[in-house]
Symmetry: C2
Subunit: 197 residues, 2 copies
């Protein structure tokens, strides 16, 4: 498999983390998250939305959207529950991640660390939305070890990617003790890798 | 089943449309998309993100996120392909919808029709993002009848919800002939309902 990747993108890290858990070897093609001028050339035919990660299977088929890639790879493994309702609950968290969490926390992190002359008002608005997303996670994680059921799943992998880096976006996870304890639980899973690995 | 619903929300319409295709009866609980002051009281325990739709199953279990609800309801029906890759492709479109499409087209529609004193610059930015999303759909639909494989699926239902109402958000679908023809194809499916039904 080949992953169109970025070493700083949490969306790409999700996929690398699951591939590490599953012990699947793959080739990494690094793209910049700042200079996007080569995106159409490199991944235009593979993802019309021009976003990474994109996974290319051995037969050349390509799949985009980080959370769709997670669901594809997790099928039939211990990282996706089997029951219909639990699978829907995993998806509920994955859609929450892409709608309420990533657009606030990942974007605040990007503006603070990678953007030139970001608008301070936009950063404040993104941090406000990010606090709501972390509070929603806390309502679950204050009383449970993992996001769905009793075990670690792709829901945890997807939410961990930008949550564990929330400090870089100006959040203090000490305000969300359930979330902070869950981050340590995720990092203690077998074959865990860091975003910088 | 009980649906926490809104008669103007495309996200809620998706679920009603699939329930109509599946001929499943349900109770509708209407919530306002403008006055959200009662959200915590009515759905706080059912969806920490406080967004509709929320589906309550007969045993009282609740499920949130429109596209997760679609996947739950479509499981084992003709509205979700069986193959692993095709299911992942459906999810790719569902995540695209919640990340690139809904936050632009639905939000532009909301600002133009329901918001008090919206910021014109925000509307312009949302319309720009919406045109990119419609262009990505056009790359697929210029040469195919449906978004995934050869048949109508929940990918089409999810994307149709706000695409068919894109005129209300200031878009002209005549600029996207593949998308416009696909809208007619979706509306011609058996047991189709309107957002106003």
């Amino acid at each position: 498999m080949r992953l169109y990747d970025s070493s700083v993108s949490g969306n790409a890290y999700k996929v690398r983390l699951l591939l590490a858990h599953l012990d699947i070897p793959f080739e990494r093609i690094e793209l910049s998250v700042v200079d996007r001028s080569n995106r159409a050339d490199v991944i235009g035919g593979k993802n019309p939305a021009l976003r990474i990660p994109v996974l290319e299977l051995d037969d050349g088929t390509t799949l985009a959207e980080s959370n769709a890639i997670l669901m594809y790879l997790a099928e039939g493994t211990e990282y996706l529950p089997e029951g219909r309702l639990e699978r829907a609950r995993v998806l509920q968290w994955l859609f929450f991640e892409q709608y309420d969490h990533e657009p606030n926390i990942a974007v605040a992190r990007f503006l603070l660390h990678y953007a030139e002359a970001p608008d301070p008002e936009v950063i404040v608005a993104k941090q406000e939305g990010g606090r709501r997303a972390l509070a929603a996670m806390e309502t679950r994680l204050a009383g449970h070890n993992f996001l769905v059921g009793d075990g670690y799943s792709v829901a945890d992998i997807a939410l961990y990617a930008y949550t564990h880096a929330a400090g870089e976006a100006g959040f203090d996870l000490a305000e969300y003790p359930g979330v902070a304890a869950w981050c340590e639980r995720v990092a203690a899973q077998p074959r865990h890798i860091l975003i910088t690995d």
